[in-house]
Symmetry: C2
Subunit: 134 residues, 2 copies
């Protein structure tokens, strides 16, 4: 059975305030790795300083391994430090290229956001009497 809220509607298209955040995990991990080489546990922790709620560990680690398969990061084990071994990631050239593309697409993103915001706050909301179209 699917989850239902107090209105009797299920919640599949609830905004959730950070549904959009998913797409940002990869580029923000890359940004962090551009500043300092790091490992999953630390990256997951620092994620919140970007205003993004951390995804669960399983998914997060899997994202990192996928990024490596995609060639945008590379990793090696750090057994020097105390505690359990860390898989330390660095950004690759392909990762830099990815960031460049992402940043360029932000302009388009901004346009969509502005269009949305203007339409929402604008006085263009129809009155109840022109409630049909032909």
């Amino acid at each position: 059975m699917t989850k239902e809220n107090e209105n009797g509607n299920n919640e599949k298209s609830k905004p959730g305030m950070d549904a959009w955040a998913k797409n940002w995990h990869v580029p923000i991990i890359l940004l962090m790795l551009r500043e300092w080489n790091s490992y999953g546990y630390e990256l997951m922790d620092k994620m919140t300083t970007f205003g993004l709620s951390a995804m669960n560990p399983g998914t997060f680690y899997r994202t990192l391994r996928q990024m490596e398969k995609d060639g945008i990061v590379s990793s090696s084990w750090d057994t020097e430090t105390t505690g359990p071994a860390r898989r330390v990631y660095s950004i690759t050239d392909a990762g830099e290229a990815y960031l460049k593309l992402w940043t360029e697409s932000l302009n388009q993103y901004q346009k969509v956001m502005n269009t949305f915001f203007n339409l929402y706050t604008g006085t263009s909301k129809r009155s109840s009497k022109d409630d049909e179209q032909k």
Copy 2:
């Protein structure tokens, strides 16, 4: 077998210039319905005027039905017009509430974007010599 690009990497975390667009389909459909009642085929078409590439028809129609299940739109058949019958959608009060929440969350969204952009364009990119962390 998974698709591979010319670099031998698969493409799972490719930006695609509009990966972020997915999250915008629901709110933008709602915005359009706030202006005029409409049906899937038309909404899909108008989507592109918002700078969003349309999703494929199957997914798009399913999104609309899901939105109805969630109670943020309602629909009825229009058999008056010529051609195949149209399922005409209107936004509900819950839909308006959804839009309100979404718009409020845009502030947070903007913050993440600005943080990202500043970090990317800033001079904070490390030099090759401080290439390790302790």
